[in-house]
């Protein structure tokens, strides 16, 4: 299915209708750069589907979306951003999944006066000194879910954690984030290779370390491998991780091995508010699968944009920025606000992996951090 044709159809619809746009904003052209092919395409597809669901529900001809595939290559993402800014003349960019791609695209895009709404990545450089008035993060600052895991470990009384993450910037940030809230002693600290698939050596170290808890950040296939091998190793030390390894998309591939594991997330399908309930239901109806964290972030991003369009014209950058900052939309997460560095202030929950019939999913069992912001906000001069 080709979503570019949807974009084209929307554009055509926009041309054919002479009636003015909704609210008093003008038309807005959005460029979505996301990962739709190769490994990691699942996340991009979810963000896109969540975003386009909100666009479809809004049923407006004022919004035109152009979608391009970055193949998870930063160089391609940079070139697509150039194309969207130079040729497509978009007003707003969005869609990037990975921090390294965001770091390649966002500074240049915002410097050229475009708005960027991040539906997933939240590198620390863009939250602190490198914050920008036109950059809004609708998901989380990268450290947030790890901080929440640390806070949860502390509240559970864990005093000797073994922590591991891949050896790359997001992995290093993850361990720093965990330690920031956790505060206890460490039984071990290990960096694995990015893309590593065998964790026997690390699991042996965990078993020998005498730890009372294990924190890991291993996104994608790495987390699947780790959880399966950990469950089979017979090590009984409780595991905590951020939601990325327990997302709807990959839980089915982990299977039993994930049952009962606690993980931290700013969203879950059982958050009790009408927006979320409607979102979960309509997403299932539209695409025939349960929505993921990423889908909820895409959906929220689109609704934030639509709420700003209703209040201001994108050509009036100051007014549009103020409208975005106000964040007056119904989030699937319930309460949602932006801090001064344009990153979310939100609750982060602890979830547990459960089984509903044949399907593995999560349920919320507590709140790890309330109205949480991020530590980099203090460095942001806005």
């Amino acid at each position: 299915m080709n979503f570019k044709s949807i974009g084209a159809a929307l554009a055509l619809a926009a041309l054919c209708t002479s009636a003015g746009a909704d609210g008093h904003g003008g038309k807005v052209k959005v460029g979505m750069i996301t990962t739709l092919s190769g490994g990691g395409a699942g996340l991009g597809i979810d963000v896109r589907d969540g975003f386009m669901l909100a666009v479809k529900q809004a049923n407006t001809d004022a919004l035109e979306v152009v979608i391009e595939d970055d193949q998870r290559k930063p160089e391609i993402a940079v070139q697509l951003a150039d194309k969207m800014i130079q040729s497509e003349k978009v007003d707003v960019l969005t869609g990037i999944i990975w921090s390294n791609l965001a770091m390649a695209v966002v500074p240049a895009a915002t410097a050229q006066g475009k708005f960027y709404l991040s539906p997933n990545a939240g590198p620390s450089a863009l939250a602190g000194k490198g914050c920008h008035p036109n950059y809004f993060n609708v998901a989380w600052q990268n450290d947030n879910l790890h901080e929440a895991a640390g806070a949860y470990a502390k509240s559970e009384g864990f005093k000797n954690s073994f922590i591991l993450a891949p050896n790359y910037p997001a992995g290093q940030d993850a361990l720093t984030g965990y330690k920031r809230q956790y505060g206890g002693a460490l039984a071990g600290e290990v960096f694995t290779q990015l893309g590593q698939t065998d964790y026997a050596a690390e699991i042996a170290q965990i078993r020998a370390s005498g730890a009372d808890s294990v924190f890991f950040f291993l996104p994608g296939g790495m987390g699947i491998s780790f959880l399966k091998q950990y469950a089979d190793s017979g090590v009984e030390i409780p595991v905590i991780g951020p939601a990325f390894s327990f997302d709807q998309g990959i839980l089915q591939a982990v299977g039993d091995a994930a049952l009962g594991v606690k993980n931290t997330s700013q969203w879950n399908k059982d958050i009790d508010n009408p927006t979320n309930a409607a979102f979960v239901e309509s997403f299932q109806a539209e695409y025939g699968r349960l929505p993921s964290l990423y889908a909820s972030q895409g959906f929220d991003t689109a609704n934030l944009l639509l709420s700003a369009m209703a209040k201001a014209d994108v050509k009036d950058a100051d007014a549009f920025r103020a409208a975005l900052k106000a964040a007056e939309f119904d989030s699937t997460r319930g309460d949602f606000a932006f801090g001064d560095n344009h990153h979310p202030i939100q609750d982060i929950y602890v979830r547990e992996v459960i089984q509903e019939g044949d399907v593995f999913t999560n349920k919320i069992i507590g709140t790890a951090l309330s109205a949480h912001s991020d530590v980099y906000a203090a460095d942001c001069n806005m």
Partner: protein, 327 residues
Amino acid sequence: MISEKLLNGALIAGLLLVVLHAHLTDAPFTITLATKVAILAVAGVGLNIALGLGGLVSLGHAAFFGIGGYAMGILASHAQSYVPLMQSPVLIEGTKSMPVIWLVALLASALAALLIGALSLRTSGVYFIMITLAFAQMFYYFAISWPAYGGEDGLSIYVRNGFPGLNTLDPIQYFLVCFGVLVLALLVSFRLRTSPFGLALNAARQSTARVQAIGQNPFRLRLTAFVISGAITGLAGALFADLNRFVSPTMFSWQTSGEIMVFVILGGVGRVMGPLAGAALFILLEHLLGGVSDYWHIYLGALLLGVVLFARGGLVGVLTEGRSGDD
């Protein structure tokens, strides 16, 4: 059936015409794409010296492409933050001057090519392919996990580096810079081919014994070719990083090596203009097929397969011989 000379002229003219048209109709992105074609063609010209002239099938040229990219990234990031690269024993500052960056990129990638070549050229054939691939992979993993220059995040440079007398931020001017480098690289490649060195290298490709008999050392010939080849690809890496104002470990990935090789083979191995024809065709395909389907890699793969099986000699070969016979 057209002569290769005519085709070469047409290729160069075609690239210039596309850019001129884009400039007049204010389509800056087309110029960006054309710049990308020119830069990737330079990388291909580099590989073609090892591949076409020396018969050295290197599947590790991403190493040099990446080193060139990081030469630019590291120097420019130090200049950007005003932190010297090294303070003792001598003070080395970063720089935002393209000529200096190019020089460093050339030297650094030549040095890497010397080391990798000295080891890899002890072998030949399939060994050589696998070893060059493995060495490039080593750089890739190192670049990802070494935290000093951004690791997997890479390095962003906020303003494109400067070239004396030009405004490199203007797409057309940067295109002309890259086009100039491409023309120079093509000239080097062309002169090399007809030089005594090139002839000896070509002879070594066909028969090692014959070259030894006339007192030439085939290892040294090949190593020299490999170093020149790596240096030119490294220069392309510096240009590519400047085009994106960004450098990351993906420049080191084995897919990058594969793609550079694809440009060369699509265009026609050993043909002077092959890399340009191949890069242009590849970028065009990527641009067109990407819009057709999320699974466009399938079509790309099928097309490549078709070229290998049924269009030997690549694009240039097919066009100049006027037939697409399968041998």
